[in-house]
């Protein structure tokens, strides 16, 4: 029942994007996830049907414990569902071998973490080129592409700095460059601005927006940040393991007051 309701909610947006000729890049079907710990069953996701379209910028919102992180892990190929399916560009993730999943993580999806997760003993450039090494790119080529990426995030002159010598905003920019290393189609951002101040957070969001608009990268962003409202195409609210609501930005703007508590 619930999933039907969700489907209806998604309907208008889906219809619109379909009209715009966009393909679905991530689709989940009746996604469920249970954690069993010491005989206590926790239902993290209770049946999620969702569609994310190529090239869109979507924000996923929800209070902590809502299942938002679980949903993220599922669509990022980091965890397997208890039941239901995840399709990434029409490929069923459950069908892939461990090596193929590694390939997927390496080239199709870029991950951006709240805590940046740069490798502490590597320089900015080394951090950016590490995924390229995993993808089998020649070191010289990797270095050139790494410098290009650092230039995009505005850190070209700090390529030899280690994470410990950089501010949070700079670290997150290196992390974005790293996520873009193998030209993924999807950027999965887990609260990218939560540890940053207002101004730096805005810079990060602008970089993301630019990647989205100029390179056509699909950006999925878990966030509490209300500034996200200004730049994302769509918003998705998750609560109690279900999609509560999906809306286009222009619809949300009108209804901001009504949603209270979720975004404010």
């Amino acid at each position: 029942m619930q999933s039907l309701m969700n489907a209806q909610q998604i309907e208008p947006a889906a219809a619109e994007t379909a009209r715009a000729g966009r393909r679905v890049i991530i689709r989940t079907l009746a996604l469920k996830k249970q954690y069993v710990r010491k005989n206590v069953v926790t239902e993290a996701l209770r049946g999620v049907d969702s569609e994310i379209y190529t090239g869109e910028f979507i924000s996923v919102m929800g209070p902590s414990g809502s299942g938002k992180s679980t949903y993220f892990n599922m669509i990022g190929g980091l965890d397997s569902p208890s039941s239901g399916r995840v399709f990434i560009d029409e490929v069923d993730v459950a069908q892939l071998t461990a090596v193929e999943i590694a390939f997927l993580r390496c080239r199709k999806i870029g991950y951006i973490f709240q805590t940046y997760n740069l490798i502490q003993y590597q320089t900015a450039l080394e951090n950016v080129t590490t995924p390229m090494a995993f993808a089998g790119v020649e070191p010289d080529e990797a270095r050139r592409r790494g410098m290009d990426l650092l230039e995009i995030v505005g850190l070209k002159d700090r390529w030899h700095h280690r994470p410990i010598e950089m501010s949070g905003g700079q670290q997150q920019r290196v992390a974005i460059a790293r996520a873009m290393a193998n030209q993924p189609s999807i950027l999965l951002c887990d609260e990218p601005t939560a540890n940053l101040d207002l101004h730096t957070g805005r810079e990060i969001l602008e970089i993301l927006r630019e990647l989205n608009s100029k390179r056509g990268v699909t950006i999925i962003c878990a966030t509490h940040d209300h500034r996200m409202l200004d730049i994302c195409d769509r918003l998705m609210w998750i609560r109690d393991g279900r999609i509560e609501r999906v809306a286009r930005r222009d619809e949300v703007h009108i209804e901001v007051g009504a949603i209270g508590g979720v975004t404010a």
Binding site: S69, F72, D79, S185
Partner: protein
């Protein structure tokens, strides 16, 4: 702009060089932890290496000392052979220690009047007898009593000739089954069946030898054998050879020299038992007469001035040995010192040679425990390293690292520590082993040290270090490889 379609292929494997680089980065970043791990490995390996090294050195020393002592005591051995007929057991031992073609072999054959074929069988029996006798003699008294009752030496074989004694022996043997018996039951039984024949041969040899001893006795008159040997006139040696003993000219020369030395040594020691002499020495050493031991005397005589003084005193008191010069006495003292040193080495290294590479059972056990502790230490350090790097590992997996790569990084890291720790430990252990041997035994220890074997042992300890590290890192690295990539999302 359109995105590229997703096509899934296999992830390429990362080159070893790149893996190595990443691993080295990791070690450098956690230098202190790595150093501690290296120290753990080094300490365990050093202990092992020390035990093995000392075993090697002591083994080499023992072999050398045994050879040197046998060399030094040729005169004494000959003196007793020429004076006593010998026993059945002695005959068996002599034969067991010789090979066809040896002078001893020929001598026994001649004295017993045995054919070549008899000699061959006699030799086989002698070898079995020696192993059996040595085994029984090595048991504690209670066990000896149980097996042999009051029989000593070859009397045991005589006892076993009756059926009931054999049955009794068999019962006791079954009860002591856990011991490491040198012979199989069938071998023992076959030997006992043939014992009468063997004993008869041995007795024939003894008879032949007592005839030869009588001949030698006639040649030397009432002079002591050792004194007569020291005179080194060809006549006596000819008499010895004529009596049936195989003494070649070279041996005769060495024996004569040792015999002379032995006679002179005895003269000095006898002169020292003269009260006047003892008092004079005590005064010179500023000690009480009762405190001056023969060892102290010899140490004093090693000094030329004292030797001269002692020689003068000998002449003055007209004691035997008055014809000895100071240089003679110094030479004797030097010889005495060398003999003492060899004896000390022999005693010190007596317990060595058993077990693997000369490492005794007890030490082997200690080494094993230290290696286990080492494995636990490395495993702990690696587990800590893995736990500390949870987020990093998970991030690497998000970036496309394969499980095998993660595992390889950690195993390589541990192996690297194992190489360094193993080498340091091996070198330190070897140095300590050589140093300890040197400090307790002096230069002979360094001369006898088997350097090549020691170097090989250090190389082996590096291998052991790597092996231990690899073993210890298996579980932690497996744990790291299995880590879920979503750990990277976790916020502490």
């Amino acid at each position: 702009m359109t995105t590229r379609p997703i096509d899934i292929r296999d992830q390429p494997k990362l080159g070893l060089a790149r893996t190595f680089e990443l691993m080295l980065h990791g070690i450098r970043y956690r230098l202190f932890r790595s150093l501690v791990t290296v120290v753990v490995v080094a300490v365990a390996i050093a202990f092992m290496m020390n035990v093995v090294g000392e075993g090697l050195i002591k083994g080499a020393l023992a072999r050398r000392a045994a050879r040197d002592i046998a060399e030094l005591r040729q005169a004494a051995v000959w003196a007793s052979r020429l004076a006593m007929a010998g026993t059945v057991e002695q005959t068996l031992r002599d034969l067991g220690a010789s090979q066809p073609g040896d002078p001893m072999w020929e001598e026994i054959q001649a004295q017993g009047g045995l054919t070549a074929d008899e000699m061959r069988r006699f030799h086989e029996q002698a070898l079995i007898a020696v192993r059996w006798l040595d085994f029984v003699a090595g048991l504690d008294y209670a066990r000896q009593r149980r097996l042999a009752h009051t029989a000593a030496g070859t009397e045991l074989f005589d006892r076993l000739q009756t059926a009931e004694e054999q049955a009794r022996y068999q019962r006791e043997r079954d009860a002591l089954r856990s011991l490491r018996w040198p012979l199989k039951e069938e071998e023992e039984q076959a030997f006992v069946r043939d014992w009468q024949q063997t004993k008869q041969w041995a007795l024939r040899v003894c008879e032949g030898r007592s005839r030869a001893v009588a001949a030698v006795a006639a040649a030397r008159g009432d002079q002591a054998v050792i004194e007569r040997l020291g005179e080194n006139n060809g006549e006596f040696v000819r008499a010895i050879v004529a009596a049936g003993f195989r003494m070649d000219p070279a041996t005769a020369k060495v024996v004569a020299e040792q015999a002379r030395r032995s006679v002179a040594t005895r003269m000095i020691e006898e002169s020292f038992s003269v009260a006047e002499m003892r008092r004079a020495v005590a005064r010179r050493l500023n000690m009480l007469p009762a405190q001056v031991s023969s060892e102290r005397l010899w140490r004093m005589l090693g000094d030329a001035a004292s030797a001269d003084w002692y020689a003068g005193l000998l002449r003055e008191l007209k004691l035997p040995g008055a014809n000895l010069t100071a240089a003679d006495i110094v030479g004797l003292a030097e010889h005495k010192r060398r003999e003492r040193q060899l004896e000390r080495i022999w005693v010190m290294s007596a317990g060595m040679g058993g077990g693997f590479m000369g490492v005794g059972e007890r030490m082997g056990w200690l080494v094993l425990v230290s290696l286990v502790v080492c494995v636990v230490g490395i495993a702990n350090a690696m587990l800590m390293s893995v736990t500390e790097r949870f987020r990093e590992i998970a991030t690497l997996k998000c970036l496309g690292a394969l499980d095998g790569f993660i595992m390889l990084v950690f195993v390589l890291e541990a192996c690297m520590l194992g190489v360094v720790g193993g080498f340091i430990g091996g070198a330190v252990g070897a140095v300590i082993a050589v140093g300890r041997m040197w400090s307790s035994l002096g230069w002979p220890a360094l001369v006898a040290t088997p350097w090549a074997a020691l170097a090989l042992a250090v190389a082996a300890s590096v291998v052991v270090g790597v092996g231990l590290a690899a073993l210890a890192s298996l579980y932690p690295s497996w744990k790291a490889a299995r880590l879920a990539p979503m750990e990277a999302m976790r916020i502490e």
